[in-house]
Amino acid sequence: MSSHRVTLDINGEPHSLDVTATQTLLDALRWQLDLTGTKKCCAEGECGACTVLLDGLAVNSCLVLATELHGASVTTIEGIGTPSSLSRLQDAFLAEGAVQCGFCIPGMVMAAHALLADQPHPDAATIRDRLSGNLCRCAGYPRILRAVQLASSQADE
């Protein structure tokens, strides 16, 4: 399988990757860059576990081919905060007890991050709508929705 070189920006750092024609952004992140915070579940764009920001928009990285990303800017969960320096949103997830097993949480945080960047003060229906593409089987949904609301309200302070 022949490979193509793409140069792109990931979490603010330039990277050159040799990727095959069928390789997804998700697999490139997980296997070439060891950015394993982005999770793989359904691999068909239905569960949202692999959500990342592509040029600022939330996308399912399992549906994006890596070869198409020359010059693109990608933000993954690793680019949002660290365990000792959480983003306001990440802290709100913990404050509201929104994390159970945690497998869906990176994708959930990325989807919510994109929403708040887009609309700092979304109403409850908008939050529900914008997170409806991210599945949580522990179904921490009520607390996840509250966490996004909390982070949104703190944006005023």
């Binding site: 697999d27 579940c41 997830f93 007890g97 159970q100 945690g102 945080v109 409806s132 179904a139 009520p142």
Partner: protein, 749 residues
Amino acid sequence: MNSEIVGASVRRVGGQERVTGRYRFVGDLRLEGMLHVKLVGLDCAHARVDAVQADAARSLPGVHAVVTENDLPRPMPRFGPVHHDRPILTTGYTTYHGEPVAAVVAETEELAAHAAQLVRVDYTELPSVTTVAAALDPTSPLVQDPDRRSGALAFTNVLSESRFGWGDEPGAAELVVDEAYVFPMVTHFAIEPHTFLAAPDHDGVQVWSAVQHPFALQQVLAELLGLPLAKVRVHAPDPGGAFGGKQHAKFEPLLALIAQRLSRPVRLELSLEETFQAVRRTMFEIRLRSGFFRDGRFAFQDAECNALLGAYADIGPRVVSKSTYLMCGPYRVPSARIHVRALLSHTPPATAFRGFGTPQVVWALESQLDEAARRLGIDRLEIRLRNLAGPGEEFMRGGKPADGDWGISLRRAAEEVRWSEPLPSGRGRGVAVGIKASATTGASYAIVRLHVDGSATVLSGTSDMGQGARTVLAQIAGQELGVDVLRVRVVMGDTALVPFDLQTSASRSTVFMGSAVRAACQDIHRQLVEMAAATFQLSADQVSVTGGLVQLPSRKLSFAELLAEAFAGVGGEVIGIGSRRGEHVGTHPLGGPPAFYEFSATACEVAVDDETGELTILKHISVADVGRAINPAQVESQDEGAAIMGLGHTLMEHLLFDKRGAVRNLGALDYRIPTTKDLPLALQSLLTENGDGPGPYGAKGAGEGGLFAVAPAVASAVAEATGAVVRDLPLTPERIWRALQDTKDPSDA
């Protein structure tokens, strides 16, 4: 120092790693030089494998092996938690859709997948058994080879059959209700698909699996590989959701054999579709014939339960026996006859799934009770209260008496939906309860190390699959040792490091492992008393210890101050050991009485669109009798999660099979689970805390109950709103709409 750590909703231990994507789940682990495995299956359930042609795949550069049954020991080793019926790799036949016939091993995941497509399997498709009716039909093909079974049932698809009951022959009843209820197959759909790694380890083997029972897996591997337990090291990173689907060994034995054979680490990540085909919930058809007196009390119950297991037993027989043990629920039933069959079929193995058969049994029982209430003209809450066992009452002859005041939770649930107030038309309310026999036998050991600075390390074999065991165990150690939760490390998931724990299931960990951790801390207390007495030349009775503080006749000092003094110049730590065991009782039908009952009440209010059959849940209340919540926010979040999972099987989930026994709705596109858009408009979990549990501080287990009674409560509300009674799950709009048409006067049509 915070003296009340237990009972506080402290933040989840391990939370920061999860919100930042830093926690390494099993699929995120990378081993030096590892190869990738892809399984090869067929597109039908039951087939004879005539030939596996793998030369094209084997000749690809980077492909290391294509493993078939011919490469594995003969006779093929088999394993399983109840019967040793599951082969490491199938021999000669496939018995369910997706059962692998070969495993490709290659340098990359992509190459393994490509090579797997080049493996040609010549096979002859055979008729398959995928329903209860087919499994009971004596002319159906046999799922398992009779030569590998024993007893009179070997030539049938009945894996096991039992009859039990109590009381005299039923006398006269005012009303007899006789109905059948169906609870379909559903799948766990943990967001983390199953992933396994194995590596040779000098004279042993190491395996990584997000397994709920690492010690059970270690035992299976040791037996199959002929290794001592000490040479089998199972690493069990915290599962990314499990719900019962990650209890028992699946492809770990295959991976371990491949790793040994190739002398290389190997990795297998199942796709979500393959995860659906690995295990699923036990499907039940239950026919109930219940007699009632005029006042709504049970006169008798006569149940015929047929549970459809898969091609291998897995833990299915235990699911069936344990759930039907409480076929009469928490109610006083003077006379019961319960007939239970566990059936084999050409479907993926049925295993544990949150509730362990309880939601299936509760669906039938509670729906039946509603039917009786309607026909007798008794309020649905009232009929439950009239039959419900009171505290301490031996409601099941010879069984453990009621260990909770369950009426409190039932009334609370009903009050929260304003049970007695009138409703507008098109709306309805439902209330239902569920009860589960919790963990029976089994041992849990814990080690707690108190370090010289007063911080602590807890070693525990429990798996934290999202239920929050790490947090609860850290809170218990924190409470007992007077140390902040942030200064406690909980080490789990490595059989070479942590002491034995039977399993993480049945909501047992807070009660069993929590008690073990508390006992280990009390062991530390005893040692500290001796240490203080020796250090300060006192007698032991002059010293006392409470959380974090040593009381001497003249002064108090912290644990850290005592250790600094006692260990000066030498160093050291205090190691406490604790355990909790549930002993085997041969005469008990479950092998031992349950440590506690998990009791839950659900109430809801719904609106039904009678044009479309669409259902809106306006309010959903879940009340859990938890004894004592160690971490209330965590308990509530689990209970809410269980309620939402229950809405999945109530409203939308079921695995469908085609005529060839293939699963028609594999994967997230065709099998829907609840999303944020499917939530009730209001959802609340309430805890009943009476301190009456057998666990630490009066705790009971929790976390499953919230889904026991969701389906009957919602169905009951639908019946009130529309008059339509549905006895098959899920309550899809189509099913409700069809039931609505049946209730309408035919002359209107």
